[in-house]
Subunit: 624 residues, 2 copies
């Protein structure tokens, strides 16, 4: 199965008969790569090979020698499992060698992973969780048109099974609403999913109706009729409307023994069958396909950053951290790379402060949290520093997108407001009580949870320069400012607002429980018990050193958090101490009840995380 | 603001002028409750009052004296923030008193919470996270028609803002696909969201196009024209098609000072304005509204449960836990209350074994994980024991639904397959590395993670009788059966497959790492180090007693897990030991790298959780 033919160049000027040769090469290479790997999705690759052959030779304007060219079109494989096809395209483009494709696909340490990730320079975002690539594509297209005024187009290849994901319709809705004429999705309707026929089968008219109802242009086409495909992609490129090309295809097209057969999803062809398949497909080819080049770069120079003047707060004034977050964002607007996204709660999260300052870099995604995160990730792929905010509870809606953003190694700042039982009367549906567990467990994440406006301001600003996924947890109510404006809050640090040399217990809090810890320390002081108080504003990374010192010096800790006991601050503290081979006596207070409505004070008390409970726990530890 | 008029009865036979009086009463009571509470959403209630007045007097067939009547229609407020309206309906039905409505709404300990939850006997599911109620309604409707053959209808009230959620379109798609003629959604298109105009404003034709494209019947209507509303609901009840009534309404309808005004979302009317509003609405009324009664119950007696004969496995044979899960499910099919749901990966999770045994209780939701969970929760509200399974990684897609299911105190069994780097070549997009953190942090959850087929079988069966949200984590690869068929695996227990009186270290694993721990113990034994091995098949609740005993007896623990370090087994173990005031030396091995593709062995080793790493960590602890 080694290459026979000499390298032959293929370009936009070549006829469709030659493009078909390329399609067959893509098929052959998809079969070869997956059979060699012993896993992968050849049949899902074969169905889309004609579509991609036409795209890459005639429509995708891409400088393969310079993937960093800002005018390059973008191609997102929303059906990430068709990675053999994508990698076969890379081989056809001459940027991946035959050996790498055939011998390293899906192997340990290889960059040609089972599903595409941005370890490859031609891949913007990781895919493989279905219904996501199209959503990122919307973000990339929006950045190109509205932020950068770049001429690039964004192409995305979707599977038909993934059209059952609601997130796809959030994406199509936004493409339509924003009239993203630089956006084209190609849906590979091969009729067969993992478990048999898809929901809509080959009813391409049904897909088209849905697309049009969501205000995009739909073009139906036979996905193996190269002329029709070429026509459809030409129309899609006319700059008139966001377009979804709905292509009827055959899964396994070109290989009689598997074409349109059930039972061949996600299975490599066994070696003998692969050999017959390659023969049927006309054997190994060595076509080098180079399509149109991007238009000469019209890179708009970003405005130079103005001075960022962060708000300052007086110690003692009552300010909500969510409000401080909003005001800090508005100040950060002086940086032209900062973009803020809302899911129609901007007057609650206070992102609307940024909207007032920089309306041109404020993106309203309405109540579509998945698309909010996807837009942020797409824009991040273009180099923007995106902040996306909603209620902490509703970030769970986008958990899979956040997880995948980490696989993309994207840089995105998230804010979850209205955390914990602190919010009061709205009740449990609105209370973020799982968000710390969710965000801590994200690969490479940073988790911040300020207790006052000064620290919230500093941490919001710090997030603009943090790599990876960072998360700021903000609180609904207003609490006294604790820190003077010039205090610093390094990520991974902590504060010790109350300490003496004779402390016999350490109270660890963050956010609202830090204020409860301070109040508890006052009560304990009245009783002659000296309590140290640690403000754990940086939950991940954690200031293990300060905690260890406090543990050693006071011998006992009370950790109180407005979160369920699992995966939050208490467990983070225990992990940090265990890692240092320390084991102080520790009482962990967290929300174990199912809360209802009530005032903040009532709910904190019911949950066992109020000043009274903290003081009692400390008393018990000291008196033990 | 106390009641003036005597109680007057109102029923289906009354004219629409009287129904309008009821609508005004619902408005007055919505205003009164929220003003008294000092929070809530009166304007979002006022827009839908006419719709609900017509529904409750003429169409909702409900025995208010017996909410447990299985033939009762269901009403789900997908726009849960309109709780004042829902509770005003309860007052109009005579099941909630005026005092309770006006004086307890949103108060601590009250059942009339900020958003509806099933602590109220007339509420099936908790709502308040938008885009969910309509999805649960689909599940309830599906149960009524396909499982129970009950004549009830399911009504759901949606807001227009939530129509931007992809989950809504998953729900409409499923209502259409299943031709759920017992399903009606009423969309209250009041044009104004939390932050100003909604995406589609008053374009009710656009909503109708989308609904029809997703194969439901759409009826557009002026939501304040009672006759038109009555006509629409009559059509919706004709048993012909799933229907979405798209109603053009005015936010704050009936109160001139707020009607169609921006800036009044989620704000109670200040007392003086409330007084003027009540006056404008005609003052306090005391109408007792009773609509049609449900048809005489035709409760189908469920088949008596057949004997559940669980599969048995020989110690030593290689079986994947996902396979054992599927076979156990098939056996549990003998219980007629068991329903299994798939998101088009049933041949991977092995739920398809159940499909073969009980196709009539197998629900294919295609790749729509949110709707899969919602259908499970909706069916659980009808008393079914639902199991829903997909890849562990893709359960994150439904995190918000799982969170809300816990608020509903629903009983649902979940299974996440393909956990961890163990899956190998498919790469990080398919690896569940956050699922334990997610599932542990769910209120009242049970988290199980069997290492072999025998325990997987027993735990799958145990889930059928567990209350709340339970979760089973299964593994892709086949591993030796460790336990004889008659071993028991109580929830909250553990196994100690390797132990002696001279153990100097305890190795704690679950799933694949349990096998790695056993292999490491073998290596250590060769070196003369006796290692105890604990199988933590029950991650929540955790067998703290056994861990504490092992910690005391061996003095050192190594915990290895195929999961990110945050929120998983390692932190669960540390929490359990801390709670017992124990602090053994503990080394925690977890996945901190961003994995790629590779073989299981390569990836376990790269992640530092392989037998070699476990043995090394144990060695270091023993030699310290």
């Amino acid at each position: 199965m080694t290459a026979q033919a000499p390298t032959q160049r293929l370009g936009p000027e070549d006829g469709l008969a030659r493009v078909f040769e390329l399609a067959q090469q893509l098929r052959v290479d998809s079969v070869r790569a997956s059979t060699s790997a012993g896993s992968g999705h050849p049949t899902s690759s074969l169905s889309a090979a004609d579509l991609m052959a036409v795209l890459m030779t005639r429509h995708l304007r891409y400088d393969w020698d310079d993937p960093g060219n800002p005018a390059n079109d973008h191609l997102v494989f929303s059906k990430g499992h068709a990675s053999p096809l994508l990698y076969a395209m890379f081989r056809a483009a001459g940027v991946v060698g035959e050996d790498e494709l055939v011998d390293t696909y899906r192997r340990f340490g290889a960059r040609l992973q089972g599903h595409p990730t941005p370890v490859l320079p031609w891949v913007d975002v990781a895919t493989g969780s279905l219904g996501q690539g199209i959503a990122y594509a919307v973000g990339i297209a929006l950045a190109g048109r509205d932020l950068e005024a770049q001429p690039y187009r964004v192409w995305t290849l979707c599977g038909d099974s993934e059209m059952a994901e609601g997130s796809v319709w959030e994406a199509v809705d936004k493409a339509g609403r924003h009239r993203l004429a630089n956006f084209t999705a190609v849906v590979d309707v091969n009729r067969l999913g993992q478990c048999g026929p898809t929901e809509l089968g080959w009813d391409i008219a049904a897909y088209a109706r849905r697309v049009e109802a969501f205000d995009c242009r739909a073009i139906t086409v036979d996905g193996h009729d190269l002329e029709a495909v070429d026509r459809a992609l030409t129309i899609a490129s006319d700059g008139q409307a966001p377009t979804v090309v709905v292509a009827r295809t055959v899964k396994g097209q070109g290989v009689t023994e598997v074409a349109d057969h059930e039972g061949w999803h996600g299975k490599p062809l066994p070696p003998e069958l692969a050999e017959r398949a390659v023969a049927e497909l006309g054997g190994v080819r060595n076509l080098l396909a180079r399509g149109p080049r991007p238009p000469a770069g019209t890179r708009v120079q970003r405005q130079p950053a103005g001075p960022v003047e962060l708000p300052r707060y007086e110690v003692g004034e009552a300010v909500a951290t969510r409000s401080a977050f909003g005001k800090a964002l508005a100040a950060l607007g002086a940086r032209p790379d900062v973009v803020v996204l809302d899911a129609e709660v901007g007057n609650s999260t206070h992102t609307e402060d940024f909207k007032k300052a920089c309306p041109e870099r404020y993106v309203q995604t309405y109540i579509a949290e998945q698309q909010m995160i996807a837009t942020a990730v797409g824009m991040a792929a273009r180099g923007y520093r995106t902040y996306a905010a909603t209620f902490a509870a509703f970030l769970t809606r986008a958990h899979d997108f956040i997880r995948m953003a980490a696989v993309s190694q994207a840089t995105v700042a998230l804010c979850g407001s209205h955390c914990g039982v602190e919010i009061g009367a709205d009740g449990p549906s609105q209370m973020g009580l799982e968000d710390l567990a969710m965000m801590r467990a994200v690969h490479g994440s940073t988790v911040l949870y300020p207790a006052d406006a000064t620290s919230a301001t500093a941490l919001t600003a710090a997030m603009a320069d943090l790599p990876g996924i960072s998360y700021l947890r903000t609180t609904r109510g207003a609490y006294p400012v604790l820190y003077a404006p010039d205090e610093t809050f390094p990520v991974g640090g902590s504060k010790t607002p109350r300490r003496s040399d004779r402390d016999t217990v350490t109270l660890v809090g963050a956010g609202v429980t830090l204020h409860e810890c301070l109040a508890a320390a006052d009560r304990l002081a009245d009783e002659g018990i000296r309590a140290r108080v640690v403000d754990l504003y940086s939950v991940k990374p954690l200031d293990g050193e300060t905690l260890a010192r406090s543990a050693r010096e006071t011998g006992a800790l009370v950790v109180a958090e407005d979160h369920h006991p699992e995966g939050g601050i208490g467990e983070a503290v225990q992990s940090a101490l265990t890692a240092q081979r320390l084991a102080p006596t520790l009482t962990h207070l967290a929300v174990t009840v199912l809360p209802g409505s009530g005032t903040t004070a009532e709910l904190l008390d019911e949950a066992g995380i109020s000043r009274a409970h903290i003081a009692r726990a400390a008393r018990e530890l000291v008196q033990r």
